[in-house]
């Protein structure tokens, strides 16, 4: 744990959820909270108001691409070297649907998996070398970095005010006759 974060650890899901709800109620932004759980805690999503996963669009795109590209490819192959077999038309839609259906699932599944890896930033080399995992505990980490930054800025402004009162000029302040 760094100085910029507060860490809360629990053995049970209920305590974890209570604390999570309390933090949100205190006004802590969901973006400043990271949770680690041994399994998926659906209630945490509601408390932190996580939106639906963007994976559904990626999956849909993959499945549609698989369907249309495979259909286009099959039709291209029969037109590239027209050869009538079994007296059937060159473009036999019912027969092609089967391969197109399989490709919909194949490409959809592969793209979904790759999309998932992209969304969750895996594989994470840093975490492969030095894993960070909660084990069997429920952990909440509240990032304080943003607040601290605010405090620092506040302190700097106060110091500048003091400096201007004591007439301590900045070295970059314009002086007559000196161009910058």
């Amino acid at each position: 744990m760094t100085a910029n974060e507060r860490r809360f650890e629990y053995d049970s899901k209920e305590e974890f959820l209570e604390k999570l709800a309390a933090l949100v109620k205190e006004g802590v932004k969901p973006g400043a909270i990271t949770t680690f759980t041994p399994f998926h805690v659906h209630e945490a999503e509601h408390i932190l108001k996580s939106g639906p996963s963007a994976l559904r669009y990626i999956t849909l795109a993959g499945a549609l691409a698989g369907f249309f590209l495979s259909f286009a490819f099959i039709i291209f192959t029969v037109l590239d070297w027209p050869l009538i077999t079994g007296g059937k038309p060159l473009i036999s839609i019912p027969a092609f649907i089967i391969v197109a259906f399989e490709c919909t699932i194949l490409i959809g599944g592969i793209i979904s998996f790759l999309g998932f890896l992209h969304l969750v930033r895996l594989p994470n080399i840093e975490r492969i070398v030095d894993p960070r995992e909660c084990g069997s505990r429920f952990i909440i980490i509240e990032e304080l970095a943003a607040d601290e930054r605010g405090e620092k800025q506040k302190r700097r402004r106060e110091e500048e005010k003091k400096r201007s009162k004591n007439n301590i000029n900045s070295p970059w302040e314009k002086t007559p006759g000196v161009g910058r």
Binding site: D11, S12, K13, T34, T35, F36, T37, P38, F39, H40, V41, E45, L48, S50, S53, L55, R56, T59, F73, T77, V78, D80, W81, L83, T85, G86, K88, S92, A95, I98, V99, F101, E102, C103, I105, L106, G108, G109, I110, S112, F113, F116, L117, L119, V120, L122, P123, N124, I125, E126, R127, I128, V129, P131, R132, E133, C134, G135, S136, R137
Partner: protein
Amino acid sequence: MNLKLFYDHVEQDVLGAMRKPKPVYWIALGFSVLAFVCGLGAWGYQIFKGMGVAGITHPVGWGVYITNFVFWVGIAHSGTLISAVLYLFRARFRSAFNRTAEAMTVIAVMTAGLFPFIHLGRVWKAYYLFPYPNQRLLWVNFQSPLIWDVFAISTYFTISLIFFYVGMVPDLAAARRHFTGFRQRLYKILSLGWEGTLDQWRHYNRLYVFLAAFATPLVVSVHSVVSWDFAMSIAPGWHSTLFAPYFVAGAIFSGTGMVISLTVPMRKILKLETYITVDHYEKIAKVLLVTALIVSYSYIVELCLALYSGNLFEISVFKYRMGGHYRFLYWVMIFCNVFMPLTLFIKKLRRNIKYLFVLSLFVNIGMWLERFIIIVTSLAKEYDPYSWGTYTPRLVEIAITIGSFGMFFMFFLIFTKMLPVLSISEIKEQGEGK
């Protein structure tokens, strides 16, 4: 029990099962490797000598190799049923079997996938099956069920593998804490740096649902496509619209039988009795019973369709099945697949694990015979009496068949010691709900 203690117990029990194997494991692995090597040797001999060493010839050109292909694809099906379909229906008992079933699926598809190559004879020409630009300027025939098969099996293997792997990622992350040395490094890499943050779980959950939704129609489509390898040809006994649902039900039936055959000794050897309980077996026995009833119904419908069709060839093939050269195998099949599973109506037998294990072996035998009967009898006695003939598998075919079982059990045994056999995160989640 304190929840933290329960979670730790789950991890220790499941991951503890992956530690140093007992002598019985090594003996089982030794036998499996031996059988696998015998099979490889027989295949090598067949490649060297040519397809003449196998018993398949005119008129029975599809024999034990295609029987094995259909059998292993069928075995693979229950993995997806237990894992994907039961997940979508939120059936909680799946957590006792899903990982084993998924591993079984991947291994069974790998085993099945070898048989078209074995059957091909000139295995070095196997790449002709795939559509690629070539000097001959020809593409594959997309109207052929054999090409549908190439796509169906490849898709099934890829999606099953992704589904199996994705389900395991959080458990591999747990495993990396419990092991040291090479295995720890392996699990660190395989878990991809998984942390278990809310964001990761959120997307993970979605992915799992989508993969389950993709895998479910695959269960239906892949074995339907396999059945069309037969149904699309105008051979008596094959050319029927019943074939697709008949094959799918049979596949799930045989796969469920194999899950029982594998998990009964596994739970005993790995001491997982707490997690795979009698209640779980009772539920899976019900799945076995329902699918057995569908298969039995299909046998009746198939026979009635033939008798009612008025087609002499259809009727004669079914008479041949029941009273011809292969009648003994036919009636053994009926006994194993129709009569034996009916005993599962008795609750006491559904809850008797030893009985279920024995029954599952009968189911496996029965379903292998079913494929053999369907394939061989229709080819042995087709239309023209001039081309009738019988088929008996030769030693090479028998050795390759035994080798395929060796390969399947060898990879399964390696799986039980290398990867978590139960879904740790899912058991933890269910423990929380209790």
